[in-house]
């Protein structure tokens, strides 16, 4: 159970980040009436950058926190825990979380891009698919937290919708000619 909860954190974080940020790129670029190839290129570039930065960011954050926790345990035990099973498990957790974050981010990014890859490219298709994915993520979040599935879904979809609206309202792309 503890493994599912810990892994779930980065799956949700990475997926939502990748999905909504890439959707934002697609919505923003499509405002300029760009060709599908330009949209896909921009979205993929964003997806890769997000995956790498999320993975690296998670690695740095988890290293800091987990080794901080380890040093607290070392102080309580009055001994060094280097080269022990505990330290190897700590390193393993850090790598697993960093990979989960980066991979979830990239997979999340593929959702809004996929309509363009299968030549049904339109912003509406990307938005619809992304919202459907947020429903699935909301159900997963409800399962992990053991709270109301409905409220989790409403939170996920509601926040996702707000972001899409925000990007549409900003519409910076058409101001730059």
């Amino acid at each position: 159970m503890s493994f599912n909860i810990e892994a779930g954190r980065y799956v949700i974080l990475g997926s939502v980040d990748g999905l909504l940020a890439t959707l934002g790129i697609i919505v923003g670029v499509s405002v300029t009436s760009a060709q599908n190839s330009v949209i896909v290129s921009a979205a993929f570039g964003g997806a890769i950058a997000l995956a790498l930065t999320n993975g690296l960011g998670s690695y740095l954050a988890e290293s800091t926190i987990e080794y901080g926790k380890l040093s607290i345990t070392e102080r309580s035990l009055l001994r060094d825990l280097s080269d022990t099973y505990i330290e190897s498990q700590t390193r393993r957790k850090i790598m697993r979380d960093a990979f989960s974050s980066g991979a979830a981010s990239f997979i999340g990014s593929l959702v809004p891009i996929s309509p363009y890859l299968f030549s049904v490219g339109s912003t509406i298709a990307s938005v619809s698919l992304s919202l459907a994915s947020l429903v699935i993520l909301g159900v997963y979040a409800g399962y992990i937290s053991k709270r109301s599935y409905l409220i989790s879904v409403i939170k996920m979809v509601g926040l996702g919708t707000l972001i899409v609206i925000a990007v549409q309202l900003l519409r910076v792309g058409h101001l730059v000619r």
Binding site: I72, T73, S76, L77, L78, R79, L81, T84, Y85, I86
Partner: protein, 97 residues
């Protein structure tokens, strides 16, 4: 050297790995027939446990390395029985007093 039949250790360990994990790891050591582990004190970061290990020829160094690898610290060896058979402690007048 005499064979160690029983070892009783006072150990300070972190909460993770759990007592189940530590007892299983010691139980897997060659020539260890059984392990008894009991918790007698706990705080936010650590727990004090008494570990009794019995076997035909317990390797003390290996038991120590196993405990330390799992984050434990052996505070003291509270009892040790070595030789050809198990000899229990005899109560004397001094103990009864």
């Amino acid at each position: 050297m005499s064979q160690i039949k029983r070892l009783v250790l006072d150990v300070l360990k972190p909460h993770e790995p759990t007592m189940v994990d530590v007892a299983s790891a010691i139980g897997d050591i060659q020539n260890v027939d059984g392990v008894n582990m009991s918790l007698y004190e706990v705080d936010q970061q650590t727990e004090n446990v008494k570990i009794t290990v019995e076997g035909s020829d317990v390797d003390y160094e290996l038991v120590l390395r196993t405990i330390e690898n799992l984050g434990g610290v052996v505070h003291s060896v509270d009892e040790i029985i070595a030789g050809k058979r198990i000899v229990e402690e005899e109560e004397t007048l001094h103990d009864r007093g």
